[in-house]
């Protein structure tokens, strides 16, 4: 049971990452490969605030959202100078830079040593404190956050704003001539998406209780991108499906008798192979509407 709860928590965290990245990649057509950076910023903000300053988890989530949003705004401004392949490459660069900050700003992040002893969420007033102490309670919290992010994402994509994001993806210049300042739209969705990713980071840090830079390396961004593409671009349920599939995949490999260490390596190979097959036979992903 504990094992299933663990998988479900991971699904909730990666579901949030998939949903938030889909807003940028699937709906707006910006091939961002820097999502793990915002995931990491969220995780580090929560880890540092909980371990050094002892603030409440939920306050740390808010702080993480603000830090992530500010950094995303600055990165988004620079990325707005690029299009298509160059956008992907530049976003790649930002993931590397932020990873290097996690690794080398030792006074803040403890570098490769990582930050241990990150506390669990608690809430309540004065004497009535409730501490989330077991994984089932944590799962409920994670699912609540996933639900909230899904609800916000749905609200966005169903709004007039969401329609303009799709129009930007289809032909940015063409929508501009109808009076839309597309830079603002692209910046807004990039910032919203980064803020959402930071929530996943906060949950991850508190759940695992230890973080180090290796969790936020480029491969993580590519893994999140794989969730979005596999599940389906421009389809929110697709991102949840993608997260579920890629979280369960290595576990399934383990059940067919593959040793743990090989299963972990095979995960990379298999999801690489799946992406290639998808691009060949179903470029819109499992549930997607839009072809990359």
């Amino acid at each position: 049971m504990e094992y299933l709860i663990h998988l479900a928590i991971l699904f909730a965290i990666y579901g949030i990452l998939g949903l938030s990245l889909n807003l940028v990649v699937g709906y707006t057509g910006l091939l961002s490969v820097t999502h793990a950076a915002f995931y990491g910023i969220g995780a580090y903000a929560t880890a540092i605030l909980l371990t050094s300053l002892g603030v409440n988890f939920f306050v740390s989530v808010l702080a993480a959202i603000i830090v992530s949003a500010v950094i995303a705004f600055l990165i988004g401004l620079i990325l707005s100078k690029f299009d298509d392949d160059y956008y992907a490459l530049a976003s790649f660069g930002f993931n590397i830079i932020i990873f290097s900050v996690f690794l080398n700003w030792r006074e803040l992040t403890r570098g490769p040593l990582g930050i241990p002893g990150i506390g669990k969420p608690s809430f309540g007033i004065s004497n009535f404190q409730f501490l989330i102490s077991n994984n089932l309670e944590f799962l409920i919290l994670a699912l609540l956050f996933l639900g909230l992010i899904y609800f916000i994402s749905r609200f966005i994509v169903k709004s007039s704003f969401g329609r303009i994001l799709k129009a930007i993806r289809e032909d940015e210049k063409a929508i501009q001539i109808f009076g839309y300042h597309t830079l603002y739209y692209k910046l807004a969705i990039f910032v919203i998406s980064a803020a959402m990713a930071s929530v996943a980071g906060s949950l991850f840090a508190s759940y695992i209780t230890f973080i180090d830079p290796s969790s936020f390396w480029l491969m993580e961004s590519i893994f999140i991108l794989a969730i979005v593409i596999l599940g389906g671009l421009s389809n929110l349920k697709g991102s949840l499906l993608g997260a579920l599939f890629l979280i369960l995949l290595p576990e399934a490999l383990r059940f067919v008798g593959m040793p743990n260490d090989i299963a972990a390596q095979m995960r990379q190979v298999i999801y690489g192979a799946i992406l290639i097959l998808l691009m060949l036979y179903r470029p819109q992903g499992l549930a997607g509407e839009y072809k990359l």
Binding site: S160, F161, R169, K173, Q176, I177, G179
Partner: protein, 244 residues
């Protein structure tokens, strides 16, 4: 009344002047045809007027008052200008209805975030799509439309904005006679509503039938202008077209 003017408008591409000191006046409420051989700078002119390419020299004057030396594409609708493209630029993986709704809703980012299209927007979209007989296809993806239907959808998108000035870049090119009739009617209706149309066109029959005024471009310069019948008879115009 002059609704749109260019004064010494210039655009260079790698040193070559695609539009070269071009000065014209466009009358309000008229259909003005812009003709000229391939490469004469017609599309570049429309791109300059719609901010798709930057102006290297000269100015554009809107409504005899607003002087512009730098036009951004997202500002043109606020000047009352809209346009279509030689090759229809639709939002392919969106429905026909969404292609029109996209240009009708809130422009402001925060306003758009908290807005959903309503009956007013739907009514406007329906009105525009019915004019081009595409309302029945409103739930189809734009990518699935035929060439002619794509052109019609682009025109519907433009007219739904209720702009004052319509820059139409070869709207008739490659269309079947029946669709040509539909587009002609739409352009005539725009004129009846007091709108201004600038029409880039190669088909001289259409220029004669629709336009009140014709402007001929050659090598980025103004070659001739006047009533279509007179302009099309001019020796230099015939030579520019036939290369004689």
């Amino acid at each position: 009344m002059k609704i749109l003017q260019t004064k010494n408008l210039t655009k260079r591409f790698d040193g070559v002047k695609a539009v070269d000191g071009f000065s014209i006046d466009i009358e309000k409420g008229k259909i003005t045809g812009i003709i000229g051989p391939n490469g004469s700078g017609k599309t570049t002119l429309v791109n300059l007027l719609s901010g798709m390419v930057g102006i290297d020299g000269g100015i554009v004057i809107v409504d005899d008052a607003l002087k512009l030396s730098n036009i951004k594409p997202y500002d043109i609708l606020s000047y009352g200008i809209t346009r279509t493209f030689q090759e229809a630029r639709l939002f392919n993986q969106m429905t026909v209805l969404d292609n029109v709704l996209a240009v009708l809703t809130e422009r402001n980012v925060f306003g758009a975030l908290f807005e959903k299209h309503n009956d007013y927007h739907l009514g406007k979209a329906k009105e525009a799509l019915e004019k081009v007989s595409l309302w029945e296809k409103r739930n189809e993806l734009a990518a699935n439309l035929s060439y002619g239907q794509r052109k019609l959808l682009e025109i519907a998108r433009a007219i739904s904005t209720q702009a004052e000035i319509y820059l139409l870049d070869e709207p008739f090119a490659g269309l079947f006679p029946e669709i040509i009739k539909t587009v002609s009617v739409i352009i005539k209706n725009l004129k009846q509503e007091g709108k201004t149309v600038i029409l880039i066109e190669h088909n001289m029959e259409i220029i004669r039938e629709l336009c009140d005024y014709a402007i001929v471009m050659d090598s980025g310069k103004l070659l001739a202008e006047g009533k279509p019948e007179e302009v099309l008879r001019k020796k230099e115009v015939v030579e520019a077209y036939l290369g004689e």
